[in-house]
């Protein structure tokens, strides 16, 4: 179980200056890393942009702060993405696996909205984190 609370807080502190242009840039760059990668983001309406590769979501980029979930086998790949895009990338192998632990109050503060109780934030998947905050 990976606790991402500290990363969320760190990314939240860098929210100032995280513009839609940077979000689009990060999404485009990530889309190039995956085969047949495409971007899906409704700017101004959705809190996360998605990178879709062959019908599967392979990355999420937050519109609020420089934070991304990337589907990767190891942390080194995420580090490369982080340094290239000036973004805090969290590598996760399976977006559906309940592998994440996060403090819901920190997540709620970041997204500025009350969170659903239909997700277990001490045992959540990346997809559930996205779903609860999109």
């Amino acid at each position: 179980m990976t606790d991402i609370t500290s990363k969320i807080v760190s990314a939240g502190s860098l929210a100032h200056g995280w513009t839609p242009e940077k979000v689009r840039h990060a999404l485009s760059a990530l889309a190039e890393l995956y085969p047949e990668g495409t971007v899906d983001w409704e700017e101004g309406n959705e809190e996360w942009g998605r990178v879709i590769s062959r019908g599967e979501v392979t990355a999420y980029v937050s519109a609020r702060c420089p934070l991304a979930f990337v589907q990767a086998d190891d942390e080194a790949e995420a580090q490369r993405v982080s340094s290239q895009l000036s973004i805090l990338a969290i590598a996760v192998q399976d977006f559906d696996a309940p592998s994440i632990n996060v403090d819901p109050s920190a997540l709620s503060e970041l997204t500025r909205r009350p969170l659903t109780k239909n997700v277990s934030y001490d045992r959540a998947s990346v997809n559930e984190i996205w779903w609860a905050t999109v």
């Binding site: 899906d40 409704e42 101004g44 309406n45 659903t116 239909n118 999109v134």
Partner: protein, 457 residues
């Protein structure tokens, strides 16, 4: 150009006035003071406003206004002589300087004062008018540069009453505002007579030109107040006012009245103040007024069309064709079952929405998906202030979301954990643009929870 002849008299935009009683003895070229303003008598027997001094425009005798230029060597400097130089036309005035005729463009925004059939221009006429920036550059050692256009910021509708007095830019703008608002009130009366008002079930979508993109037709839903956004140069449509509370499911808190004032009810306050909320200058008001006049003229035809279902169907087909959709709308878009109070039951060919009930936690479910109220809540506040798209008030969003999720399953619309369903009518307004949207985004988890939001149109 005949229509503009009097406008370019003496090299500046001028409005002809009849000589007032007691002044008939004044002849060509003579100045007179009347009503606090100075006029000069033209060769056609009319008098013309001499200048708009409150804008700091240089005033010369003989009605010449604008930037003075030295008459180039080799040209006749006799007053009244017309000089073609550097691709532009100048007039030599009494001070032996010449004044560019096209400088009148700088005051062209005054045109809305003459709102009548002889001075309302077509799009083509507006395009044909000379542009200041089309003038070729002149030698800088002889002639100074043409001044840049003055941008007005005094034409807000919040000051619609025109002062009685000289034809200053400020007064022109105020009179234009007054004219537009007056005409809009007439439009509102006509709309009310025709039953085209907010809260009515039958809506009329009419076409009008946006101010800054002449010739590009935009549709404008007369039953929904809208505003022109000068930043994005797009029409923004505001979320509809609450009329009848949604009743299916649990009662919903009515949306905030973001525009202030009393709850408008079925036919609310005249929409012009909403429409012109963000219109910032006289030129835009002028274009808007012209479009509104067209709308008034077109209204009887529009009403006739709306009364004929076959014609309406034809229009739908044409609209679909224009949008690049080859099939009839009814066949490709799921339809929403309407009732006078709410709508939200999805109907589509070959699709039967599953029955909706509640689970032991009191959550709405259709057996496959369970609705997440927390996820729906940001899109049901009735306000775009939080940057979230909003469901229209009479849409039963809960039922629609569950039905649409089942529809997405059947049609294979899911891409990962998100699906888009497009309906046959708007179900909400988009947060970013304020435009009505018939797109519903549905978000799901692998455990079967869903929430939904109006998507990008």
């Amino acid at each position: 150009m005949d229509k503009w002849r009097h406008l370019y008299r003496y090299g500046f935009l001028a409005t002809p006035y009849l000589l007032p009683r007691g002044y008939q003895g004044y002849g060509y070229g003579q100045s007179l003071v009347y009503g606090g303003s100075t006029y000069v008598v033209g060769d056609d027997g009319y008098m013309y406003q001499q200048a708009m001094t409150d804008q700091g425009v240089v005033v010369q005798t003989g009605g010449c206004v604008g930037q003075p230029y030295q008459v180039p060597a080799g040209y006749d400097a006799t007053p009244g002589n017309v000089i073609e130089y550097g691709g532009a036309t100048y007039v030599v005035c009494d001070d032996r300087n010449m004044y560019v005729q096209a400088a009148a463009e700088q005051t062209a925004v005054e045109q809305p004062t003459q709102v009548n059939s002889s001075t309302l221009l077509t799009v083509n006429e507006l395009r044909q008018r000379p542009q200041v920036n089309q003038l070729p550059p002149l030698p800088s050692n002889v002639l100074p540069q043409v001044k840049t256009t003055v941008t007005l910021n005094v034409n807000k509708v919040v000051r619609p009453t025109a002062k009685v007095g000289p034809v200053t830019r400020k007064n022109v703008a105020l009179r234009a505002n007054q004219e537009v608002i007056g005409r809009t009130r007439e439009l509102k009366k006509d709309s009310d007579k025709a039953g085209l008002c907010l809260g009515k079930a039958d809506r009329s979508v009419l076409s009008m030109n946006s101010p800054s993109q002449l010739g590009q037709a935009r549709t404008f839903d007369v039953s929904t107040p809208g505003s022109w956004d000068p930043k994005t140069h797009q029409w923004a449509t505001m979320p509809p006012k609450p009329t009848v509370p949604a009743s299916v499911g649990k009662p919903r808190v009515p949306p905030e009245n973001t525009q202030g004032g009393p709850d408008p009810g079925l036919c609310p306050v005249p929409p012009e103040f909403v429409i012109f909320n963000n219109v910032v200058d006289t030129l835009q008001l002028f274009y808007f007024a012209r479009d509104l006049f067209s709308l008034v003229r077109a209204l009887p035809e529009a009403i006739a069309l709306l009364k004929n279902p076959n014609l309406l169907k034809q229009i739908s087909k044409l609209s679909a064709k224009a949008a690049g959709i080859s099939e009839p709308i009814g066949k490709i878009f799921p339809r929403i079952n309407s009732s006078p109070a709410t709508f939200g039951k999805l109907e589509a060919e070959g699709f039967t929405a599953p029955k909706i009930g509640t689970n032991r936690h009191g959550q709405l479910t259709n057996g496959t998906y369970t609705l997440d109220e927390a996820g729906m809540q940001p899109h049901s506040t009735g306000s775009l202030a939080n940057g979230k798209s909003q469901f229209m008030y009479r849409v039963n969003a809960d039922q629609l979301a569950l039905d649409a999720a089942a529809y997405a399953d059947q049609k294979g619309l899911w891409v990962g954990n998100k699906a888009k369903v497009i309906f046959d009518r708007p179900i909400g307004v988009h947060a970013d643009t304020g435009e009505p949207t018939s797109v519903l985004n549905i978000y799901r988890t692998s455990t079967g929870f869903i929430h939904a939001a109006p998507g990008r149109p």
